[in-house]
Assembly symmetry: C2
Homo-oligomer: 498 residues x 2
Amino acid sequence: MAKKANKPKRPKAELPRGFHDSFGEDVLEREQMLSRIAEVYHMHGFDRLETPAIETVESLGKFLPDVDRPMGGVFGFQDDDESWVALRYDMTAPLARVAAQYRQDLPSPYRRYAMGPVWRNEKPGPGRFRQFYQCDADTVGTSTVIADAEICAMLADALQAAGIGRDDFVIRINNRKVLNGILEESGLQGEDEEPRRGIALRAIDKLDRLGETGVRALLGEGRKDESGDFTEGANLAPEQIDLLMGFVSAGRADGAATCARLRELVGASEQGIEGVQELETMAKFLDSQGYSAPLVVIDPSVVRGLDYYTGPVYEAELTFEVTDEKGEKRQFGSVAGGGRYDDLVGRFIGQKMPGTGVSIGVDRLLAALRARANSSENKAQGPVVILALERDQMSEYQTIATELRNDGIRAEVYMGGGTNLGKQLKYADKRHAPAAVIIGSQERESGTVQIKDLVLGTSLASEIESNEEWKAQPAQQEVERGRILATIRAIMDRQSAP
Amino acid sequence: MAKKANKPKRPKAELPRGFHDSFGEDVLEREQMLSRIAEVYHMHGFDRLETPAIETVESLGKFLPDVDRPMGGVFGFQDDDESWVALRYDMTAPLARVAAQYRQDLPSPYRRYAMGPVWRNEKPGPGRFRQFYQCDADTVGTSTVIADAEICAMLADALQAAGIGRDDFVIRINNRKVLNGILEESGLQGEDEEPRRGIALRAIDKLDRLGETGVRALLGEGRKDESGDFTEGANLAPEQIDLLMGFVSAGRADGAATCARLRELVGASEQGIEGVQELETMAKFLDSQGYSAPLVVIDPSVVRGLDYYTGPVYEAELTFEVTDEKGEKRQFGSVAGGGRYDDLVGRFIGQKMPGTGVSIGVDRLLAALRARANSSENKAQGPVVILALERDQMSEYQTIATELRNDGIRAEVYMGGGTNLGKQLKYADKRHAPAAVIIGSQERESGTVQIKDLVLGTSLASEIESNEEWKAQPAQQEVERGRILATIRAIMDRQSAP
């Protein structure tokens, strides 16, 4: 500050690490997807809620698994009055705060959906951002697992509304009480065992990534990954590991057989038996509503990483393969998940207020849809561009643009400086314009316009040197002033024809 | 941490000061308004842009007038790598960063719109929040004032699309170059005069709030407000004050007369003359497009508070009166504003890249629309509620809900515990349900259902003690199972009839 350089240092035009910008169609595509999902939630009687980005650290609590980072993975900072506040890291913590804060006024059960960005102060990596979108639906204030089943059914509807085919995903359900029953059986249920339970839980959650050997290593002494990093294990005894792995692989051909196997595993554990019963109730209800296997399956390997789940847990997995950047085929994996949390609201009010809900990973789902989409789509999504070849005719150009807009056609007048035809056509190309409207002095005097089909016109605008050369191209036609709308309509219809 | 209390302290369920939650229809209403405005921008050829909430402090710069707060009014914090980052305080600073960062790839001019929350670390007050919505449209990379005029025309369209009548607002335009010409004439244009110029600018910007006397005081020695606080003035000489106040009150019956008066005031100042010419060009263009007075007027009292404007400035003011919380009638005032900034992008790239754009204060505009709206609207915006009177019939209830949804009617099954009729009807009332579907064991056995019109049924659900009493009410009817859809459709049609 005290030192003044001769030349002021220019700020760098860049984002902090782990953040990114979204342009044009990418944003619209996400918004469209979100509004389709929102419509499903809304039709099911869920109400929209929007909480601010910032919450008190106290009310957010610490529920993120990644505790190696400052503030446990959240972006936190001190407010003026010295109190600590932070950006929300999910939609569930703010919901718990809202359910507690307004509990006298809200209907009970309170059913809400929410969508928007969340922030994680995590190490950014390829495809791993520090701001991303979530889209949640929750029912708070009821303990019936029918509410859980309804959320699963609604999730299936929402994914289809977003554009995923009914055969392209599976919703896998499980119940934490079953797992707790197994933990009880293996003597891991006490408070002292919490750290080991946490490690075991996260290990099981990684089954599809690490395979049985990897998970067994993490349940035991630990595991060295490909990079040579060692992850400390839960140090369970071999028979404990066998019991847990038995749980994970308890899946059978159908729900009834799986439940029968789970019943064997939980033994006399009351909690375990309750969990199996809840699974059966959910499966029966979902079945009656047309959400049977293979759309919804009971899968004991689903545990969800978060500590706070207390009953049913569920996730949606895409079953189709995509080709990644390296050209390798791979499964897309989980795009949504959730479960029952019976203590999140209770921490505010000192009495139980159970809830259950799902969160859709919007960006992952969108990436999946894009990976699937036919990339040969029509790319002319830009506006019709009216070139500005005579600076004193801007009113006339704008009038044409307005006429097009009034007919529902997106249109704009070239607003850059100069009257260079090639430069303006280049601009129109860059805008992915379906057509350009060109009026030189000659056209103006004869009451006509030139209309160029920019999809048909394959020649690069940059190669065009003179007006004469350009006129020789087949994609161009001269029409009367009054025929602009009809001509452009015809061009756009032709372009969008299959 | 070291001390462990017997009873853990419960977190408070509350937001940090200056933030608020939005529920249900309030959120949907804002989204609908935003999507209508977005549609206008989109049709004009503007492209959507979404930047993250967080930017580097370096790239945000310091352009907020409120410098009395830490970090100059922004929410800033240190990232892991010690660099400072902050939440965006407007949409213009991120746009400038984007225009610089992607200048090789973006079309030029780059026309973008953006919408979303911004954050100000300001002192919260009644109706003054620290997170609020903006909705911007900008054209970057052109110096023609036709681009400014287009934004003004588009703003007029956008406000009408949002629901403001054409007679209910005025767009006032001015040009900073005219003001600069006057400052030149009054010897206030040098670099040393920057602080005094800043005070003078902000003083003029407060004309509608403080009146001529108040502004004159701030241009002179200073002003003591009602609370007794003294604001230091610009300490201008009386003749300088007269010249500036002459500028502010240069508005005449029509644009031509106003421009003529401004021409007199700017004297021989080149910048001043250029500013008047630009105003004339804009007015002529807007006139040709059907945006004449009283919709768009030249108003020399419009200066906009921000330092970075370099040419045309404009704002939209609502002209109708609203009744505030105290029952007093008042003008609603400005809901949008913007102007030309020729140096915001240049600070990144070291060369000029002019831009112009408008920002709509979404929350203020929404408040205005609500203040105007007829409050006697139909309040039954909730879902049809299917009561759950027999716990083993949940599948049947859900099937009915699905049938209603498939016909486009929002519906849900009561998910709370218990089978108490009164409690469930109370829930339906709280949800603003248009109707409730009631199936007790008797109805189930006879293949019928009871349907209650909850708008017509004025009796409070809480007063209903028995099924018998309830059946005596006129708002209830018994229909066959197959007639549910038709009956509810008829009830909802009746409710929405004027």
